[in-house]
Amino acid sequence: MANPSTPEAPELHPGARRIIRVGAAGKPEIVIDHWQRLVDGDPFPSLNALPVLVSLERAEQERPALEHRLGTWGIWLAGDADPEQVAARVLDRALVAIAVTKFTDGRHYSLARLLRERYGFRGELRAFGDVLPDQLSYMRRCGYTSFELARGKSLETGLRCLDAFSVSYQGNTEDPRPLYRRRG
């Protein structure tokens, strides 16, 4: 059993945190993340090189200011955002994060899949909010590639949960073929 409370890594700056990210070889790992997620109205961080995540509305209103910063910027979306409305406006971002307000609200799974499969989003897709270890494998198969766990949740348990299954009946965003097209 993993220790339920994960010791915090020494922080490089306020707001840096440990998350799980699927690495280049498709292997999830625990990494230090520097993205600063801003609620509308929060000032930009004084450290100009830090990348920021802003809401879609703010990104569109304050685009010149965002472009002016040294750090790059990404967009966070509500879990119930309408992919038809938002997809074209986020496609060019390196990072899109989706807010999971309550883990039992499964709308964000459809949003994630559609962003990937229908609209072709290629950047990093992150879940944050009420993100619990036991849902990570579903999220990953819907196209998420990084996970900021809910406060107090063990990243090590998260990694173990991501490893729970080696087979699935359904296709996923990387390989759409269901098992019946892969069996043999």
Binding site: Y109, V167, Q170
Partner: protein, 559 residues
């Protein structure tokens, strides 16, 4: 029946390991009960009044004799030596301990069984016709499609947290719905191709259900080519996942969404979504149809002479116990010389749907001796031996009688569907089982029982309607009135091709009066029917409620 290959087995084994890990985190305190609840529910584990309850999936009700023996063994090792067969063709254990559940599930995995998605707000066990594969009126074997749906829905990553639970039923008999498809979230009906050379396809119904807001499903698509079955289901689920209500759990089922949008607008949304995915990788392949269908091919039936006349003569036998049993519990088989035998789990005075380990083991043995080792669970909470050589019927009847499994009441008013009610259930408002046992004890004259003909009587202990009271010809709903158990009486429901929702007859009655009231309703029918050929349901539909009301509530001294 379907046999797991390497992939199926690995997935079920890994699910056991995952649940073992989840349970150990709950016991260690790493996760709270609130976090654990959805995890345990998605693996069929409830918290009831006295203990945990584990609901084990029996996909479309089909069991091998080895599986049934394992269910019996598990009930002895980890429970109290019995199990409860539910209205969704599953089995429930009422007394497991949390730390034993992983071992119990590992035992089940060794015979290709699991508890995946038997609860929770996800796609549940797909149910079907208990006569699938052996009925004379079947167009196609629905189990092939049920298994394909089972695999698609198992651990589906997008649909694990739907607004509410989701139930799919499939029937392969276009003129004899025994799977109650019109009261499911999605009902799939096999229908013939539109032209002579087109293979069969499906009519897809959506938005049916019981519970607080009973509703009959409507047609979402008249004809769906079979290779598109999964992409169409996926389109419906995606529309539901995105737009179903999440603000109020009592309005979260898909029937509410279908009702709010209207079936036309709902079906347009589904069609628009489907158009985007229908020609993608989800299209079912001929190889997959063949692979799954091969597992459902007929067993090695012997070439026998037709036995219909022989069975009829048994029904008239001087041995009245045998005669009654054959008349009510034996159904015609598609192959000459064979019969379908229904085993009633509604013996007089016993909880509907309960079976002891000894009974399960006997049924498994009889399936091996007289059939091809197959058993089916019917949604009416009975068991079926689908392939019995008719010449063995007298012997089989004698063997069943020895363990109280030969109650001759299939389809009769004492073949009662009942939920566990307040004797076990955390949600119930009133008890169901004692009402069922009292009714079965009251109507003990078997000649009278058979004279009443086919009548369904369904009892639920609360508005969630697990006992399907809305679709019983007679429905009983338990309610709590200032701490006292009262029961509402409903008439006129049906789950079949002529599906209808029953209506309340009059004021609710206290527990002490409800059995008399049922007897009164039955006698009113007997006194007024046109002939013995007029079924109870037909009489209710023809005569309305007045004769019943007059007899039941009209007299000052009705008790």
């Amino acid at each position: 029946m379907y046999r797991y290959d390497h992939y199926d087995q690995v997935l079920v084994d890994q699910r056991v390991a995952q649940f073992r890990d989840q349970i150990s985190r709950r016991l260690s305190g790493e996760i709270t009960e609130d976090e654990f609840k959805p995890l345990r529910l998605q693996n069929g584990l409830y918290m009831q009044l006295h203990a945990y309850m584990l609901r084990v999936a029996i996909p479309y009700g089909l069991l091998s004799s080895d599986q049934l023996r394992k269910l019996a063994e598990v009930s002895r090792t980890y429970d109290r030596g019995y199990g409860h067969f539910s209205t969704r063709q599953n089995i429930q254990y009422n007394w497991p301990r949390l730390q034993d559940v992983p071992d119990l599930l590992a035992e089940l995995a060794s015979v290709q069984m699991h508890a995946i998605q038997t609860s929770g707000n996800c796609i549940r066990n797909t149910t079907s016709d208990h006569l699938a594969g052996v009925a004379r009126d079947e167009l196609v074997d629905p189990r092939v499609y049920c298994e394909i749906i089972r695999q698609w829905s198992t651990l589906h990553p997008e649909f694990a947290f739907l607004p509410r639970k989701f139930k799919i039923a499939v029937t392969g008999a276009p003129t004899a719905d025994r799977a109650a498809v019109r009261v499911h979230d999605i009902g799939v009906r096999a229908v013939p191709g539109r032209t002579a050379d087109e293979p069969h396809g499906f009519q897809v119904l959506v938005g049916g259900g019981l519970g607080r807001t009973p509703r009959i499903a409507e047609v979402c698509r008249e004809f769906l080519p079979r290779e598109h079955l999964l992409s169409y289901l996926e389109a419906i689920l995606r529309v539901y996942n995105r737009y179903g209500r999440r603000d109020n759990k009592f309005k979260a089922r898909i029937k509410i969404l279908v009702g709010a949008l209207g079936i036309e607008a709902f079906s347009e949304q589904v069609e628009a979504e489907w158009a985007q995915i229908r020609d993608g990788a989800m299209q079912l392949t001929p190889e997959e149809f063949d692979r799954v269908a091969a597992d459902f091919s007929d067993p090695d039936y012997a070439a026998l002479e037709p036995s219909d006349l022989f069975v009829q003569s048994l029904a008239l036998s001087k041995d009245r116990a045998l005669g009654r049993f054959v008349a009510s519990n034996v159904l015609p088989h598609k192959r000459p010389g064979y019969s379908i035998v229904m085993i009633s789990l509604k013996a007089k005075g016993k909880p509907p749907g309960d079976a002891t380990a000894e009974q399960m083991e006997l049924v498994a043995e009889l399936a091996d001796t007289y059939g091809f080792g197959r058993i089916v669970v019917a949604h009416e909470q009975n068991l079926v031996l689908p392939d019995i050589e008719s010449r063995h019927l007298p012997e089989l009847h004698a063997r069943l009688s020895a363990l109280d499994l030969a109650e001759p009441n299939i389809g009769k008013v004492t073949d009662i569907i009942a939920c566990p009610g307040l004797d076990y259930c955390n949600l119930a408002n009133a008890r169901s089982i004692p009402i069922a046992t009292r009714i079965s004890e009251r109507i003990e004259d078997l000649d009278y029982l058979h004279d009443l003909g086919d009548i369904s009587l369904n009892i639920s202990g609360c508005i969630n309607a697990c006992g399907h009271h809305h679709v019983g010809n007679i429905g009983i709903l338990g309610i709590d009135k200032q701490g006292e158990e009262f029961y509402q009486l409903m008439l006129g429901g049906s789950p079949s091709d002529d599906a209808s929702i029953g209506k309340i007859l009059g004021p609710a009655l206290p527990s002490a009066e409800i059995v008399d009231a049922v007897a009164n309703v039955l006698q009113t029918y007997v006194n007024n029917r046109e002939s013995a050929d007029e079924r109870f349901l037909d009489y209710v539909r023809r005569a309305g409620f007045e004769p019943f009301k007059e007899q039941l509530y009209g007299q000052p001294e009705h008790a």
